[in-house]
Amino acid sequence: MKNIKVLGSGCAKCTKTAELIQKLAAELGVEATVVKETDAEVIMGYGVMRTPAVVVDELLVHSGSIPTQADIAGWLQS
C-alpha cells in the first residue's frame, strides 16, 4: 500500500500528475492512495519550491514537472 501525495497549489499540471499516478497504479494493480496537497505550509515543510512535486510514503521523490510514466511506475513498484 503506497501513500502518495501530489504537492502543488492546484495548477493544471498538479491535477494531471495526480490523475496520471492514479491511472498507472490501477493499470499496474498497485494499491495506492493519491492525495493532492495544496496547503502552502505543508508544501514548505517538504522543502519544495517547484510544483508539482511527488511524495511517496513521506519521501520526496520528484519536483518541478509532470513526472514521466517510467518514473511513476518505478515509484509504484519499488
Partner: protein, 329 residues
Amino acid sequence: MFEIFTRLANWLIYDLAGLSAETKMGQSLHFFVEDTSKIFVLLVVMIYLIALLRASLNVERVRDFLAGKHRGAGYVMGAGFGAVTPFCSCSSIPVFLGFTSAGIPVGITMAFLLTSPLINEVAVLLLLSLLGWKFTIVYILVGMAVGIAGGFFLDSIRAERWLQSFAAKALEQGRKNSPVGGSAVASMSMTERHQFARDETLEIFGRVWKWVIIGVGLGAALHGFVPDGWIETHLGSGQWWTVPAAVGVGIPLYSNATGVIPVMESLITNGLPIGTTLAFCMSTVAASFPEFILLKQVMQWRLLAILFVMLLFAFTLIGWIFNFIFPVL
C-alpha cells in the same frame, strides 16, 4: 532578415485572400499574420537556445546563492536572477516560502518575484522584434529598478512583521540556521542540455502561443479599428492624471508580458505617450487580483495593501518620468 514575414503576410492576405491593403480589415489582418508568424519562429529558436545555456540554473540554486548575501547586493542579485531564472508563476508561493525559510529577507525575495514576470526571454525577444533595442534596454532597466527599489522599500519598512505567522516563524528559523550548503550541482552533458531545452521550448511555447495570438490580435484591432488620431488627440499630450489612471486600471488586470507587449507596440504607434504605455503594461504584468489572492496565503492584508500601493506609486512614477523625458530626448 524579417522581410520574409512581411512577404508571407502580403501573399496570404493581399494575394490569396484578395483583401486590399487600403482597407482597415486588410491592414489589420496583414499586421496580425506578419507579427504572429515572426514571433512564433523567433520564440521557438530563442527559447531553445537560451534554455541550452541556462539548463543547470534553477530556483534551488538561486536560493542557495542568495542565502546569507549582504542586503545591498541581495536586491540587485534577486532582481537579476528574477529576470533569468525560469519559473512558472503558479510556483510563486512555494518559491516565496522556500526563500523565506532559508532566511532570505522578504525584500530580496520580493525583488526576485516582482522582476520575474516583467523580464524573461520571451518578453525581451518580443520587445526587440516589435519595439527595437533602445526601448528593450529601457524596459529591462525599469523592470529591474522596480524589483530592486521595491525590495529595498519592503525591507526598510520591515515588511516581515506582516507575514502570516507560519511564514514569519519559518523566516526566523531560517535566519538562525546557517545558510544551506549548496545543493548538489550535477554537471550536464550536451545531450541532457538538449533534452532540457527541447522540453522547455515545447512547454513555454505551449503556454505562451495563445497569449501571442491574443496580444497581437488586440494590437491588430487597435491598429485597424481605433480611428487614426483618436488616442493621440485624447490621451496624447500625457496629461498627468492619465498615468495613475492607467496604472489603477492595469494592476487588477492580468496579462503576462507575452500578451501585453504587442499591445504596447500598438498603443505607442497610435500615439499614446511612452510613459503612460509603460506604466499601464508593466502594471498589468507585475500584479493581478489572482496573484494577490495567492499571496494572501503568506501575507497579511496589511502587507498586501502596502504592496498594492507601492506598485501603484512605482509605476505611476515611471510613467511620469518617461512622459517627461522622452519628448526631450
